[in-house]
């Protein structure tokens, strides 16, 4: 005890300073439990730390495993749309569109979707992408102590939720898209209201950039944290904004274009180092590019039906259902038996808010899929988070985790 006192409470002579007596230290195991304040759902990280520095980490996902695959084996193709909403619940329209495209590929009707339906799908997908990036950046900033950008972005997100509620009926879990199109058309004047709000959102983004981009605290906590090289990003299967922040030029909308993306012009922002600050910048830039896409879609939006005319795929309209026996029976068969998809399997992928979101469906000629696997980008990105954290301090986990945008529903399916 007295030796410890001597070590800690000061040296007697100048010569003592040369004799560095190392304090005893050992590695510690610390649990960042499944319920933690970073509002990203529930993930448990068991850290092995040397003081504050992380030496090893073991990430345990699965606390939100809600058995999407097993549920979809006993649900009809249309009943799965609510389950897909709850995968990436900050950009639900992208999941809906991806799943609908996967079923349409197996049905072989990809080219027959009405043009207006394709445009509406892209419009709502891009609005969902904006809400995803707003939530991610807002929540991450809040966790670093910047509360104001969080409130400003939540105000913007609230505007978009109200608009999406006018379209689909629900603020968050829309289930708006159907196999063959979308369930209902855009309301009157919705596009004008959308663009009024988007102009206001552009102003808010400029305000938040002023607050954060040159803020010393924000930069110190985000820059040089969580660097990832380009080759590692490709080998670890990263996609989406965090891969683009590492310099990987991969955007599903550009490389494997689907829907009407070949007809709109937009840029894909690329970062250099892959650290958290680059990821933040890429996300802000993507919001601006999404706004650009929305303006072009609104100009090019054609008139027409919003769902395919094929009786094997789409529900009949309500007037027919209530008045003619054939439509009523068709409606009944659709709801009870589901859409009969011929035997086959296929993998379809779209650019979700986090990256390549894919659905691998195996169909067996009944109205329910045999297997419906969701390739979730958050799961793959979380796997790389362990590698990113090594060598950093415990406090650096917060920006790393925040910028990966791990959505619990998508990661744990």
């Amino acid at each position: 005890m007295s030796e410890l006192k001597q070590l800690v409470l000061g040296r007697k002579d100048v010569q003592d300073l040369d004799q560095e007596q190392a304090l005893p230290n050992e590695l510690m195991t610390v649990n960042m439990g499944p319920s933690h304040p970073a509002m990203h759902g529930t993930v448990r990280i068991v850290l092995t730390v040397d003081g504050e520095r992380i030496v090893a980490s073991d990430v345990h996902p699965g606390y939100l495993h809600r058995c999407f695959e097993k549920e979809s084996e006993s649900a009809t193709y249309t009943q799965i749309f609510p389950y897909t909403d709850r995968l990436n619940y900050v950009s639900p329209m992208n999941n809906n569109v991806g799943y609908a495209m996967a079923v349409e590929k197996l049905l072989g009707i990809t080219k027959e979707i009405p043009r207006r339906a394709e445009y509406v799908r892209v419009i709502v997908s891009e609005v969902s992408r904006i809400t995803d990036h707003l939530t991610c950046v807002g929540a991450s900033a809040m966790e670093l102590g910047a509360f104001t950008p969080f409130l400003y972005f939540l105000k913007c997100r609230e505007w978009l939720y109200i608009l999406l509620e006018e379209v689909s009926g629900a603020r968050l879990t829309h289930s708006y898209v159907r196999v063959g199109g979308v369930s209902k058309d855009l309301p009157e004047g919705w596009l004008d209201r959308l663009f009024a709000r988007l102009d206001e959102i552009k102003v808010v983004i400029v305000e938040v950039e002023d607050m954060l981009n040159n803020n010393k605290i924000f930069r110190d906590r985000m820059a040089d944290i969580g660097k990832f090289s380009k080759e590692d990003a490709i080998a670890y299967g990263l996609t989406g904004p965090i891969a683009r922040a590492c310099g990987v030029d991969y955007d599903v909308r550009k490389d494997y274009p689907y829907s009407i993306y070949p007809e709109v012009e937009f840029d894909v922002p690329l970062g250099t180092t892959g650290d958290c600050f680059d990821r933040y910048l890429v996300r802000i830039e993507e919001i601006k590019q999404s706004i650009r896409i929305l303006h072009q879609c609104a100009k090019q939006l054609p008139d027409g039906p919003v769902i395919i005319d094929d009786p094997r795929v789409a529900l009949p309209d309500k007037r027919g259902t209530y008045n003619t026996i054939e439509s009523m029976i068709r409606h009944f068969k659709h709801i009870v038996d589901g859409i009969k998809v011929p035997c086959g399997e296929g993998y379809t992928f779209v650019e979700g808010g986090n990256g390549e979101l894919g659905f691998f469906i195996v169909a067996d000629a009944t109205g329910r899929p045999y297997k419906c696997y969701c390739r979730s980008p958050s799961f793959v990105h979380l796997a790389s988070a362990g590698k990113t954290m090594h060598g950093h301090l415990i406090a650096d986990i917060v920006p790393i985790f925040g910028m990966i945008n791990m959505i619990g529903g998508e990661c744990d399916k």
Partner: protein, 172 residues
């Protein structure tokens, strides 16, 4: 007669204080977390009800808001968090997944958080609108004022049992 009047008035005053200064522990798991963020945001303000600041340690919180689906793997963690909270404590099950399991009827989603801990107020909705959440909060506040939350009733039962024991041993 005088003593009971004073203690009930004191209890009313204490409950009044408790209901208007709830410290929430948001046990956020899933999509309802987004609606929780909206409730805490400026438009549907939780701060008006005094429940503004979340306390991220169960020791310092008295309202456990279970926001989102609880799975079997999460069960022991939830129970541990609940046990660590000090009395009096209240629980709100936010969303239909925390109330009854929602439309997830499978091998991992628990059919409601009340399989593990007692819940005071259930909020249905997938996710519930923020107005529903505020309605539930007002309902909970009424409950707290009446002294009828689960932990308050438990406390009263225990006090009554102790009193009966004292009387019985006093007579002996």
């Amino acid at each position: 007669m005088g003593l009971e009047l004073v203690t009930t008035k004191l209890e009313d005053a204490a409950n009044w204080g408790r209901k208007f200064s709830l410290f929430t522990y948001p046990f956020v798991t899933a999509c309802c977390g987004m609606e929780f963020m909206s409730v805490a945001a400026p438009k549907y303000d939780l701060a008006r009800f005094g429940a503004e600041f979340p306390r991220f340690s169960p020791r310092q919180a008295d309202l456990l808001m279970i926001v989102g689906t609880i799975t079997e793997k999460q069960g022991p963690a939830l129970k541990r968090v609940y046990d660590q909270m000090a009395e009096p404590k209240w629980v709100i099950a936010f969303g239909v997944c925390a109330s009854t399991g929602g439309f997830y009827q499978n091998y991992h989603a628990m059919p409601g958080a009340d399989q593990v801990i007692p819940v005071d107020v259930y909020i249905p909705g997938c996710p519930p609108r923020p107005e529903q959440v505020l309605d539930a909060l007002i309902l909970l506040q009424k409950r707290i004022q009446d002294g009828r939350g689960h932990s308050q009733l438990r406390h009263k039962r225990e006090q009554a049992a102790l009193a009966r024991e004292r009387v019985a041993s006093g007579e002996d």
